[in-house]
């Protein structure tokens, strides 16, 4: 199998980036806390915090630190709830967010020290989830008038907000002192005392009243009051007309549109909510696909049966129509399942930017990554297998292609080297990925000298580069080690995925590797086993049971029963024919067999004896189409990682052959 992506490749980049984000998150939180203390909302700090957490979550997901993902996710949810309710984090929620960010920081530190990050602290997720209800819905400030808004202190604003949100009306009263009022004893002092009995005075502001020509006419007082008293009572208190009593509208909740947008390097918007998403284990989708395959097989049987009826002269038009309709529906279902397996190429390629960061830091190169993924999508299984190849190519580009800064400047190139990874869907359900750099290009003459063979064109160049262990470098670098690993790149792209690999290099200008891989592949979980000197695999789904062959207890072949080498074995009260796979495949006499694989065909079990089991793994099955090697029971071939083909057996078909012979 493919060597899995070594996570250590990304850890360096992850630690740097996550530490920066934790710092940013803490700064936002301090801002938010200050806001709570002052009663002034800090929506921007909230959004910054959200963005930092969202990015941390994504990065942690890539390097597989589940506890960080969970904490960041819970906090994100909390922040979203705060944002939606038009408020800001309450004290409780802010404290929890602080603890959460602290916990994330601890885990990032554990990762950087090479240790295993601790699980989520007990109760933290629950506490964060519960905190949602404690969010103060006070932050969005009510608006009275621009002048007054500016004069309200944070605590006054908070006082007003709380009252309004709680349902107590707010009022703006305008008291104009006059001789007549004074004569009646209605002074500002008296008004104030009167209003205090009716409600709470938030603010009292004197202002000058100006006339038409700007002439100063006198003084007036604006009073902000929260009171449940009727408007008329308030008017009476200020000895003025009701027009001088204006209701303050409650604050409008912050519109949902302020949901922060997170952009990736390619400028593509990754919506934190977007459409609802369910995370599904890949194995479950495989299961779905396996079931679909069975459906397709049973549909073929249906077709055969219909054909048989038609031959007997029966009217099968209705049946045909129904089965044709079913065929179309199965195709649609297949397409829908494939779609469910698709992931955005941008998500797959994101780790590369982490890689570039840590590579650039550990070398004297200045380099940036340009990702161009548009809307391309590919099968998760393809993506997982492809990533190691891309890692190799990007690492090679940083190590061997991009020149050191001084050299680039001397050559009149931009100081910053560029590695571009572009992908797009092309005809034939293929994804084309181009990994290009603006580095020094590959010196064909040098490659030819080292390989001691002519390298006339890019095709020949690729051949040499992909020779195992070939390197144009004498010194092993820390990042690339010795050798370019191009043999691995080709093995993944071509042998494993059945795709294509090309190279185009212009000395002095750069190199571009083009990989074409299928958007989807058939991944099958198989048992590997040995039979004689040869190993085989068989799909796990085809095997009902595996058991140890007893030394005794095998009933000798009956006369007139299955032809040798089948014998019968008692298994759970049933006699199962045991066929020696070694003998059946003419490999050996089967006497070394110690295990038996049981398959069931049309309700009848058959056991195939094999020497020993080698393990269970996921493989990509490739068909072998040449008529020279088309034989019954051979379903295809796969590569178990040794570069040699291993045959995939169809034991059901072998079982059928055995049965037919027995009849």
């Amino acid at each position: 199998m493919t060597d899995r992506v070594d996570l250590r490749e990304f850890i360096g980049g992850f630690v740097v980036e996550a530490a920066e984000l934790v710092t940013a998150a803490n700064a936002s939180l301090i801002d938010i806390e200050a806001g709570i203390a002052e009663g002034v909302p800090r929506p921007r700090a909230g959004r910054d915090l959200f963005r930092a957490l969202h990015t941390i979550k994504g990065l942690a997901g890539m390097v597989g630190v589940e506890s960080i993902v969970e904490i960041a996710h819970a906090l994100e949810t909390l922040l979203r709830a705060a944002e939606r309710s038009g408020g800001e984090l309450g004290r409780v929620a802010a404290e929890l967010a602080l603890q959460g960010v602290q916990a994330i920081a601890e885990r990032v530190r554990a990762v950087s020290e090479g240790g295993a990050p601790a699980p989520v602290p007990a109760g933290m997720l629950e506490a964060i989830a519960a905190a949602e209800t404690t969010i103060d819905v006070v932050a969005a400030a009510p608006s009275i008038s621009p002048e007054l808004d500016a004069r309200l202190s944070p605590s006054e604003r908070r006082q007003l907000s709380i009252a309004l949100v709680a349902g107590t009306p707010g009022w703006l009263l305008s008291f104009v002192p006059s001789e007549a009022n004074a004569a009646r004893g209605v002074t500002i002092g008296a008004v104030r005392a009167q209003l205090a009995t009716l409600g709470e005075i938030v603010k009292l502001v004197p202002r000058t009243v100006t006339g038409a020509a700007g002439a100063q006419l006198g003084i007036a007082f604006d009073i902000v009051l929260v009171s449940a008293a009727p408007r008329e009572a308030l008017a009476e208190a200020i000895a003025g007309p009701v027009e001088r009593v204006i209701a303050i509208p409650p604050p409008r909740p912050v519109p949902a549109a302020v949901e922060p947008e997170v952009r990736d390097a390619g400028g593509e918007v990754i919506s934190p909510i977007g459409r609802p998403v369910v995370r599904v284990e890949l194995g479950r989708l495989d299961e779905l696909q396996d079931q679909l395959s069975l459906l397709i097989v049973s549909r073929f049987r249906l077709e055969r049966e219909i054909a048989a009826h038609a031959e007997r002269g029966h009217d099968v038009r209705g049946l045909r129509q129904a089965v044709d309709l079913q065929g179309r529906q199965l195709r649609d279902l297949r397409r829908a399942i494939l779609r469910a397996r698709m992931v955005r190429a941008s998500e797959v390629l994101e780790p590369l930017s982490l890689l570039i960061r840590s590579l650039a830091r550990s070398s004297d190169k200045a380099v940036r990554l340009e990702l161009e993924t548009r809307d391309a999508e590919l099968d998760k299984a393809v993506a997982d297998r492809l990533l190691p190849a891309l890692v190799h190519l990007v690492r090679n580009a940083v190590d061997h292609a991009i020149e050191p800064v001084a050299e680039r400047i001397a050559r009149g190139k931009p100081r910053l080297g560029t590695i571009r990874v572009a992908c797009r869907e092309i005809a034939g359900n293929q994804l084309e990925l181009v990994i290009s750099d603006d580095g020094r290009g590959i010196d064909r003459a040098e490659v030819a000298r080292r390989a001691a063979r002519p390298v006339d064109d890019d095709v020949a160049l690729l051949e040499v580069l992909c020779g195992a262990g070939f390197s144009t470098r004498d010194v092993a670098t820390r990042t690339s080690g010795r050798g370019l690993g191009m043999d691995i790149v080709r093995r993944i792209a071509v042998s494993e995925l059945g795709g294509d690999l090309r190279v185009a290099s212009t000395p002095g200008a750069g190199t571009a590797f083009t990989l074409c891989v299928p958007l989807t592949i058939a991944i099958v979980e198989v048992f590997a086993f040995a039979c004689g000197r040869q190993s085989f695999v068989v799909p796990v789904a085809a095997i009902e049971e595996i058991f140890e062959l007893p030394d005794a207890g095998v009933i000798p072949p009956r006369t007139g029963g299955l032809r040798a080498p089948a014998s019968l074995l008692e298994r759970r009260g049933h006699a199962i024919p045991v066929v020696s796979l070694g003998a059946e495949l003419a490999i050996d006499d089967g006497t070394a067999a110690r295990k038996a694989l049981v398959i069931r065909r049309n309700g009848e079990a058959i056991a195939f004896s094999v020497d020993r089991m080698l393990g269970r793994q996921e493989v990509v099955v490739r068909t072998i189409g040449d008529p020279l090697v088309t034989a019954p029971g051979i379903a295809g071939a796969t590569d178990l990682g040794d570069g040699r083909p291993t045959l995939v057996l169809d034991l059901a078909e072998l079982g059928r052959a055995v049965r037919e012979r027995a009849l």
Binding site: A586, I587, L628, G633, P645
Partner: protein, 145 residues
């Protein structure tokens, strides 16, 4: 123009030739994955430059006795229409130019001994080259049957 490049190789004591235009490349040969149920002359499948191809053991195909494998053994990868297959040979020699006119009908004895897998012979520099009938060697009848 009737002079064409030919890839030449040895199987047993004879030298064989194939038009270079039918040959994709030469590979060293180690071992093939045996395919149970395939014809006896099929050594199995190998992975060549990412491709899975069947390989035919020309010694077996030509009815020659097996020999101890040497490091000179090669796989001549040939293309026949859309099919790609390998021919295991004892050693692959140089590429020579052979004028089409130099090829003659094989003598009766050679035709018989090679079971019809040689469609022509040519004498070049006092050496006889046998032109292999690739479709026949690859059991072309199989793909139509």
């Amino acid at each position: 123009m009737t002079v064409a490049l030919h890839v030449t190789f040895r199987v047993g004591n004879a030298s064989y030739a194939l038009p270079a235009s039918d040959v994709l490349h030469l590979e060293s040969y180690d071992e093939a994955t045996h395919v149970p149920g395939a014809p006896a002359y099929v050594a199995g499948i190998v992975q060549v430059r990412g491709r899975l191809i069947p390989v035919v053991d020309l010694r077996v195909r030509f009815g020659l006795p097996p020999v101890e494998p040497t490091i000179d053994r090669r796989v001549v990868v040939v293309q026949l229409g859309s099919r790609v297959a390998g021919l295991i040979v004892d050693s692959a020699r140089e590429v020579v130019k052979i004028d089409h006119a130099a090829f003659e009908k094989p003598p009766e004895i050679i035709a018989r001994e090679t079971a019809g897998f040689v469609k022509a012979v040519a004498m070049i520099a006092r050496r006889m080259y046998l032109l292999v009938d690739v479709p026949r060697v690859l059991g072309e009848e199989l793909s139509h049957g």
